[in-house]
């Protein structure tokens, strides 16, 4: 085995005599280099170690039953559902960036959409694990699907939990289709640059014989537009449906009409937090600074301020409604949330989600990659706690004081939570290594020289050109 290179192979300027060629090289070489930078190996080893903890803890849970978690009455949802909502929320940024920003013609999205989409898919995969093991008998999840069976029974379609199955699986499917379709032209680029038989074969198979014909591009662009139009309401619907799991129940603290928009705003917030958290090291280690520029980080940080304010507004509104409704259970729940036994988690959430992101009002902060990274981490912590607060404070203080309790997580709880990051990062690192991390075709299409044919338009487009190669 050849020695792992100590120097980052991606620091050099990309090769090529035109802007298009440089974009191609800048992105393709990441997947083509024989030995990725040492940092990749270290990261991958850590991710695998954490993944093995994840698999081990899941094995333990399946073998012994879910009693090895702290999940028990009255907190019957606890960590697994907190983690589920956390991951599914993160999964929202990818499709938001690729679909909604596409419809709004936000050209800057091309720099980050591909790996945001990848992040979406991996996050949805992590999310999917949790309900699967939380049902206690993970070999029976097909009960939730409308499959003809020997009991002659059907799922209950008026239940939000059933809506959830459809929403999450539709979301996963459409995200994968969207992601894969976006990658076809880039796979073709990889195939045409391949120097070995196996690379040519593998990328050739997934590129499906794409040759960049304009007649094909015509249908491809239509298809992309339609998918974006379909995925846009889908993004908004998924977390709304997840919020129905809570909002349609009678529990004080869950039973509120603000939940769907509040959950969607939170999901976008958390998702963007994760995107910046991944973007900063990715552009650093893979030499993508020319494509993912500071100005892209800045735009995302602005999105973070906006969504942070939305989330903060929702927190306030919950309190206002609790007071304004005159409902004493509702009022108690919210006073309990802020000052009760879980006050520590509530104030962690407020600090991470509402206070820290305000630092982005300062240009020096939002254009600083390190600060971006740190605030992104805080946001992720805060969004995890948001779900924890919603689930645990409400469940442990419901109507009957006789059934009140306090949820205490076990070691296994922490192992499954932490371990899910292992799954996420393993997949993400493999993605960085083998798949096109940036949508090359899209970046090229928005490069100023792609518009040189209409000189009057040139200036206008150059102003918002996403990439300065």
């Amino acid at each position: 085995m050849a020695a792992i290179s100590d120097v980052n192979p991606f620091v050099n300027a990309p090769a090529g005599d035109s802007a298009f060629a440089r974009i191609t090289d800048n992105v393709s070489r990441i997947a083509e280099v024989e030995r990725p930078p040492r940092a990749w190996y270290i990261a991958f080893a850590c991710a695998l170690a954490i993944l093995s903890i994840f698999l081990g803890s899941i094995g333990w849970v399946v073998w012994n039953g879910i009693g090895v978690w702290g999940t028990t009455m009255p907190a019957a949802w606890a960590f697994p559902i907190v983690n589920f909502v956390f991951w599914i929320g993160i999964g929202h940024a990818g499709t938001l960036i690729s679909a909604i920003l596409f419809l709004f013609r936000q050209t800057w999205r091309t720099a980050i959409n591909r790996f945001a989409e990848a992040m979406t898919i991996f996050a949805v995969m992590c999310a999917g694990v949790f309900p699967g093991i939380h049902i206690g008998r993970p070999w029976l999840p097909y009960y939730m699907l409308p499959i003809p069976n020997q009991m002659d029974m059907w799922p209950q379609f008026r239940s939000p939990l059933e809506w959830d199955i459809f929403a999450v699986s539709t979301y996963a499917t459409i995200s994968i289709v969207f992601w894969y379709m976006g990658m076809i032209p880039d796979f073709a680029t990889f195939r045409d640059r391949a120097t070995t038989f196996w690379r040519r074969l593998c990328y050739g198979v997934v590129a499906m014989g794409w040759r960049g014909s304009s007649r094909q591009w015509h249908r491809y662009e239509r298809a992309y537009l339609i998918l974006a139009a379909l995925a846009t309401p889908l993004v908004l619907s998924v977390h709304s449906v997840v919020s129905f799991d809570f909002a349609t129940s009678q529990l004080p603290g869950w039973h509120t009409t603000i939940f769907p928009p509040y959950f969607v705003a939170g999901a976008i917030f958390g998702g963007f937090g994760m995107v910046v958290m991944l973007a900063v090291p990715a552009r650093q280690f893979f030499g993508l600074k020319r494509i993912i520029q500071i100005k892209h980080l800045e735009v995302m940080n602005k999105v973070l301020i906006a969504t942070s304010l939305l989330v903060g507004y929702s927190y306030m509104m919950e309190f206002f409604v609790a007071w304004y409704s005159g409902n004493k259970y509702e009022a108690f729940t919210f006073v309990n949330r802020a000052f009760g036994q879980y006050a520590w988690s509530y104030w962690t959430m407020i600090a991470c989600n509402v206070l820290f992101p305000q630092l982005h009002w300062f240009k020096a902060v939002r254009t600083n990659p390190v600060a971006t990274l740190i605030i992104g981490m805080f946001i992720n912590v805060g969004m995890w706690f948001e779900r924890f607060v919603i689930i645990c404070t409400s469940l442990t203080r419901d109507f009957l004081p006789s059934s009140w309790g306090y949820f205490i997580p076990t070691k296994i709880d922490f192992m499954t939570l932490g371990g899910s990051f292992g799954l996420f990062f393993t997949l993400f690192l493999l993605f960085c290594r083998y798949l096109p991390m940036v949508a090359m075709a899209e970046v090229k299409a928005f490069h100023p020289s792609a518009h040189a044919h209409e000189p009057d338009h040139h200036v206008e487009h150059a102003g918002q050109a996403p990439v300065g190669i």
Binding site: S18, F20, A21, T24, R137, W139, P146, M153, W154, Q156, F157, R158, S159, E162, W163, F166, T170, T173, I174, V177, F178, M181, P185, A188, R191, D192, R193, G204, M208, G209, W210, R211, G212, S213, S214, R215, Q216, W217, H218, R219, Y220, R222, A223, I226, L227, L230, A231, P233, L234, S237, V241, M440, A441, E442, K444, A450, H451, A452, H453, E454
Partner: protein
């Protein structure tokens, strides 16, 4: 990739021309060239670029694709599927009443209608895009043109096929030359790549197809044959547990019972209940006529009795104890003919019944009246009897029982 078939007469010699390929450096040049070729009236030609070139559709005269209509159809199919699925499963095939919700109401079914519309539409978009674009398209004569590899990188190409009726090698080449390409090249037909799948792949596909039918065949066999062997549990479920259940045979004990009886003469903690008067309403085998000495007869006990009587006895015996509670009234209404009415507790007979016997009636039930001992603590049973006595007294009251002052008010 090997070509197994014998070279035929037409295969020998230099391969025929597939078309002419021109290369351009910028999208603008490609656009200009495309307009020329379009205006020259060609039909079998195409351009290739690493990204969709803005305006190429018009320059080439590409007609709008029917893709959106296909997606519309698929979306509506998804919607209809969701409606039918939910209605048929929950309202028709297995009517499922959940907390009094209507079996079929649109609002609760909207989320899944929406999801399936998007799912069908989205997946169809992708598949229709592939099908309309003739993808996957494994091999093409252009794959053997070296310079064409840059079509997915940074160059722009134009190909006019020799199969086009207007194609003429010299004229077409002149037309292309006039568009100032970097290079023009004749693309030969591909003779090297076979049109056929490699035999290995065909055989493995056949084998996989046949093998995949095996599980279904086994399932079908199991459906239509009988078996004496027990069901195979791949994963042991809760219905099979390694334990002896109550009321089942048990070889471990000589009497063969799983449920163990307490040893004779044993008494559970706090269950001694020696005081016959209080616990059984008896004194040396005879029904007592007095309240037990440990039971304090006072107003609090009376009120407690009234309240408990209201809870436990009124449904059948009625608030006045006359045997006309809600249950009795309903039974009369149904007139099924099998009903034993609850006794009128203000009756002479009950009025003279020893309290001990009434206590026993409440505790163990009588004939058609169920036992309430397990539900009502003993002291409450005495309180109920105290209140019952007051009720009876009220019913049997005479004018002489009232104070003179009260009599005048009547």
């Amino acid at each position: 990739m090997s070509d197994s078939h014998e070279p035929q007469a037409s295969d020998s010699g230099p391969p025929p021309l597939h078309g002419l390929l021109a290369e351009y450096r910028t999208p603008a040049e490609l656009l200009r060239a495309s307009k020329k070729v379009r205006d020259a009236g060609f039909s079998r030609w195409d351009t290739f670029s690493p990204f969709p070139v803005h305006g190429i559709d018009k320059a080439m005269g590409i007609k709008m694709t029917i893709l959106p209509w296909i997606v519309l159809g698929a979306g509506l199919t998804g919607l209809a599927t969701a409606i039918l699925l939910q209605w048929w499963t929950n309202a028709y095939d297995y009517p499922w009443l959940v907390s009094g919700k209507p079996l079929w109401s649109i609002p609760a079914n909207v989320p899944i209608m929406f999801e399936l519309t998007v799912l069908f539409g989205g997946v169809t978009t992708f598949i229709a895009m592939l099908v309309l674009n003739n993808l996957p398209f494994p091999s093409h004569p252009l794959d053997h043109v070296r310079r064409f590899a840059r079509a997915t990188d940074d160059r722009f190409f134009l190909l006019i096929e020799a199969a086009d009726p207007k194609f003429d090698e010299t004229d077409t080449r002149a037309l292309i030359d006039a568009t100032h390409p970097i290079a023009v090249e004749g693309v030969p037909e591909d003779r090297k790549t076979s049109d056929k799948l490699p035999t290995g792949i065909i055989y493995s596909l056949v084998i996989v197809t046949v093998m995949s039918a095996v599980p279904f065949a086994l399932a079908a066999k199991a459906r239509y044959t009988k078996s004496r062997s027990t069901r195979v549990h791949i994963i042991q479920d809760m219905d099979s547990q390694p334990k002896y259940k109550a009321q089942r045979e048990n070889p471990v004990f000589s009497d063969g019972r799983s449920t163990r009886l307490p040893d004779p003469e044993t008494v559970a903690v706090g269950e001694l209940r020696e005081d016959d008067h209080f616990w059984r309403g008896q004194d040396h085998g005879a029904w007592v006529r007095t309240f037990p000495p440990t039971f304090r007869v006072d107003e609090a006990a009376m009120l407690r009795g009234q309240q408990r009587f209201g809870i436990y006895c009124t449904p059948c015996h009625g608030f006045g104890g006359e045997g006309n509670g809600m249950v009795a009234k309903r039974a009369d209404e149904l007139a099924q003919g099998t009903w034993t009415p609850p006794s009128n507790l203000t009756d002479e007979r009950i009025r003279n019944m020893p309290v001990g016997e009434i206590f026993n009636t409440i505790t163990n039930g009588v004939r058609n009246m169920p036992a309430y001992g397990p539900q009502i603590p003993a002291s409450d049973r005495w309180a109920i009897i105290l209140y019952l006595r007051a009720l009876e007294r009220g019913h049997a009251g005479k004018i002489a029982d009232l104070e003179p002052a009260e009599r005048t008010g009547l």
